[in-house]
């Protein structure tokens, strides 16, 4: 044990390497009821105490495996789902508390892009109506002004503005995703949550959408939360990456640093598991295989949630929960033994 007095730990919302955050998430919790358990009501701990800051103009990637809570976190941030407890600040407005006109004005600056361009567009609405809907909902523009704005954003995302009267089924997957992006842009937002925006697309189309999102970001000064399970795409598009496991964020850091030197054992496992499209790098890659299955979020393990599967777990890991704190400049990990796997 060191004799020096311990300095207070730095949390992700007070990252000194970051500009003043556009979005600040504090102790965010989202539980879902899961029917009756053995001792009364069972609860799914989908998001369980998340601290996160997103700087203006950056892309923050959020990765994790299915069921880790990443999509739920995205939905709570944009208020598609109410938070159980905790706060989401957007430019100092607490989205979990604000109501009425102020909520509308704030919410207008936050938009979402969804994974499935087949399910997220109403098949009975024309493309023009789909893209114009936010304008009407927020009472921003109607009539001629609205249709001018619609044509403008369609051009921006690479869709032919003459297609406003067509229906979603007349478009391919990649074009539909462009329609979804046009809808998210029409209100001129500052912050966009994109939930697996390219996972449903063919490889050659994925690059089109990734490039488009990068162009839009620099053109309109957008801030992205990019949620995905595909590490290679997330790493490419993101400035920083947050890794989630069973409702908690286990690591945050610059995307290339996380690849080159993961601090949390789970990040290391994830990085080692992804095959890469290069036979030489593949021959050198040694995947670390995890034992067991991902535990149930109804009854998550005590203390560090990864301890049941962690290759380097010690007794302390099941007794004391490691807080998510800064281990190096701009790098956060929730682990008693960071960087040791």
């Amino acid at each position: 044990m060191s004799a020096e007095p311990a300095e207070p730990a730095v949390t992700p919302t007070h990252d000194p390497t970051l500009k003043k955050p556009l979005v600040r998430i504090e102790k965010l919790v989202k539980h879902f009821p899961a029917g009756l358990g053995l001792f009364g009501r069972a609860v799914v701990h989908a998001v369980d105490g998340v601290d996160l800051a997103i700087a203006p103009g950056e892309t923050l990637g959020l990765v994790g495996e299915s069921g880790c809570g990443k999509s739920t976190l995205g939905r709570v941030i944009v208020r598609l789902l109410p938070a159980t407890s905790g706060h989401v600040f957007f430019k100092d407005v607490d989205l979990t508390a604000v109501r009425g006109e102020k909520l509308r004005r704030t919410r207008q600056q936050i938009q979402m892009i969804f994974q499935d361009p087949y399910a997220s567009l109403n098949p009975r609405m024309t493309v023009g109506d789909i893209v114009a809907e936010p304008l009407r909902n927020f009472g921003v523009a109607r009539g001629r002004k609205a249709s001018q704005r619609v044509q403008e954003v369609m051009r921006v995302v690479g869709l032919n503005p003459n297609f406003v009267n067509r229906y979603p089924h007349e478009f391919s997957g990649g074009q539909r995703q462009r329609i979804g992006i046009a809808r998210s842009l029409v209100l001129n937002p500052t912050f966009i949550v994109a939930d697996e925006p390219v996972s449903a697309l063919d490889v050659s189309i994925q690059a089109q959408i990734v490039n488009l999102m990068e162009d839009l970001q620099s053109k309109f000064d957008l801030t992205f939360l990019f949620i995905a399970h595909d590490l290679s795409v997330v790493r490419h598009i993101s400035d920083r990456i947050a890794v989630m496991y069973l409702g908690k964020i286990v690591e945050i850091g610059p995307s290339h640093a996380i690849r080159d030197k993961p601090l949390h054992p789970y990040t290391k496992v994830l990085e080692s598991s992804v095959p890469v499209p290069d036979p030489d790098l593949e021959a050198a890659r040694k995947p670390i295989l995890l034992k067991g299955e991902i535990p149930s979020p109804v009854n998550p393990p005590s203390a560090c949630r990864f301890h049941t599967r962690c290759p380097i777990a010690q007794p302390i890991c099941s007794e004391v929960e490691p807080p998510l704190e800064m281990k190096e400049n701009g790098r956060f990990a929730a682990c008693h033994f960071p960087g040791q796997l």
Binding site: E65, S204, Q208, N211, P279, D280, E293
Partner: protein
Amino acid sequence: MHAVDGIDFEVDRGEIVGIVGESGSGKTMTALSLLRLIPEPGKITSGRILYGDKDVAQMTDDEIREFRGNDVAMIFQDPMTSLNPVLRVGFQVEEAMAAHRRFTSQQARDRVVPLLQRVRIPAAKDRVRDFPHQFSGGMRQRAMIAMGVSNEPSLLIADEPTTALDVTVQASIIELLRDLSRELRAAVILITHNMALVASLCNRVIVMYAGRIVEEGPTRAIFKNPQHPYTWSLLRSMPRADEVEKERLISIKGMPPDLARMPPGCKFHPRCRFRIDRCLTEEPPLAEVGPGQIARCWVLMKNVENPEAEALK
């Protein structure tokens, strides 16, 4: 419509061949036709499928049943819909063996637990009595693989075997497939859209586009020295794993052709940045471009100067 048009390839014992392509490229149809499982009203209109020296296309119904059950195993993408939800997993594995009468029912019963152990299902002795819903996605895929290898097939066809699975689970299934191909000395055909999976597992790669083979060769040659513009662009449309600074991805404009309205000439020419006039009218043949490597292109990437700059224009 020709979903698959004039495909020639061979797979040897102990070899893993990857068939890659995007949706609609004909990769799954190719695999299904190997088993004569093409959905109605589709049919094989011409060509031969030789297994050893038997022609699958000419087999009688009894012969094809025998062939599908004993010589070949197929592993599908979605392990959820491939298992019967009301039957115990162990019973389904046993049934797969019993159906083809290679083993007596007692032998089949005795082999279930070792098979589940072989595909690394933990506590296999207890888990044989579980129902599919008690298994996770990865475990279900393992059970499907156990069924597939239960008759010791000499040809294993895996159609997107890891696509529905999480990355950490994917990694263990990849390892399992690699080990099994060695142990069984089976020929393996891996059908996937995932180039990284191919780089990881395959000795040889077949790239399909619009129902045709556009390039084929040893894995390393295809990745390091692709000659068809489609292969080349596909590889550059993915972020590099060792990327240090953000590099612009090379996208392929447009989308694959509708099978009912195929363009004339080279089927890739409407999307190709390197096309010449000849590509618009005349379809190129597959020609040798390197040791064991063939490509269907009039131009070939080795003849293009500074293709990256051209593609990013």
